[in-house]
Every structure is written in structure tokens, then in C-alpha cells.
């Protein structure tokens, strides 16, 4: 019995994609965790639900990210 381990599973999530956009797309070395939407209250500026929010993700707009890294194709 082969235990299939998804190689993607080990890669850390891509902070650029988490923010909203990564120019490397499928070529990115990191995992692109797709999320449905950003919380509209958080977009307005304030949402009292914090991390427990069910209205959407509270996407932080981090602006000092290192550049995204491309996958090394072997």
C-alpha cells in the first residue's frame, strides 16, 4: 500500500497569495491557499469578530514581503 503524500502539503502558504495576488501563479514555490472572500466589515475597516469571523477572511495587507519565489522544476 502506497501512502500518497501530496508534495504541496509540505510547502508553506504563500504570503503574497494570502494578501490577494501572487504574480507567479502556478509557478510559485509556496502553496496558494484559495479562500472565498475577504470579510466586508474588515474591508470597511473594523470587524469585531477577529480571527473567529465567519463573514470572510481578514486579509492583512502586509507591504514588506520578500519577493515570491518560483518553484524549482526538476
Amino acid at each position: 500500500l502506497y501512502l500518497h503524500i501530496d508534495p504541496d502539503f509540505k510547502r508553506p502558504p504563500c504570503p503574497h497569495f494570502e494578501r490577494g495576488f501572487c504574480p507567479l501563479g502556478p509557478r510559485c514555490a509556496n502553496r496558494h491557499v484559495k479562500m472565498e472572500k475577504i470579510c466586508p466589515f474588515y474591508i470597511a475597516g473594523f470587524c469585531p469578530n477577529g480571527k473567529q469571523c465567519k463573514e470572510g477572511h481578514h486579509a492583512k495587507f502586509v507591504d514588506d514581503l520578500p519577493p515570491p519565489e518560483p518553484k524549482i522544476v526538476k
Binding site: A44, F46, P48, H58, F61
Partner: protein, 71 residues
Amino acid sequence: PTWGDTGKSLAEMDIDADFAEHTKPWRLPGADQSDYFNYGFDEFTWTTYCLKQKSMTGQLADQKAETTKFE
């Protein structure tokens, strides 16, 4: 967007009065403000911002009322 069944947007709400029942976890020591507030706001600067927005929309409404008077 309006918050729950209050019919108010969060910018129109008074955090102390309208969230009297809420646990206000952003006030706890060590809470990451950016989990709750976007754009670098905290409760204080957010409240100031909302008041400013309210007074600006008020001014706009007044201006409109003034202009339509003479139309």
C-alpha cells in the same frame, strides 16, 4: 455592509454603546489589533475616523439642502 440586525454600518456604530454585550477581545492585553482593525487603525483612531466621516456626510447633506433650496 450593515452589522447583524442593527441596520447600521460598523462606521456608524458606537463601540461602547452598541457593543455593550460584546466581549471586545481587541481590548485584551496582547491582542493583535490588525486581527480586528484594517489599514493600521486601532479603536481610538477608528472612532476618530468614523466621527470625521459622519461630520463630512452631514456637511455634504447640508450643502445639498442649501443648493436645492435655490433650484
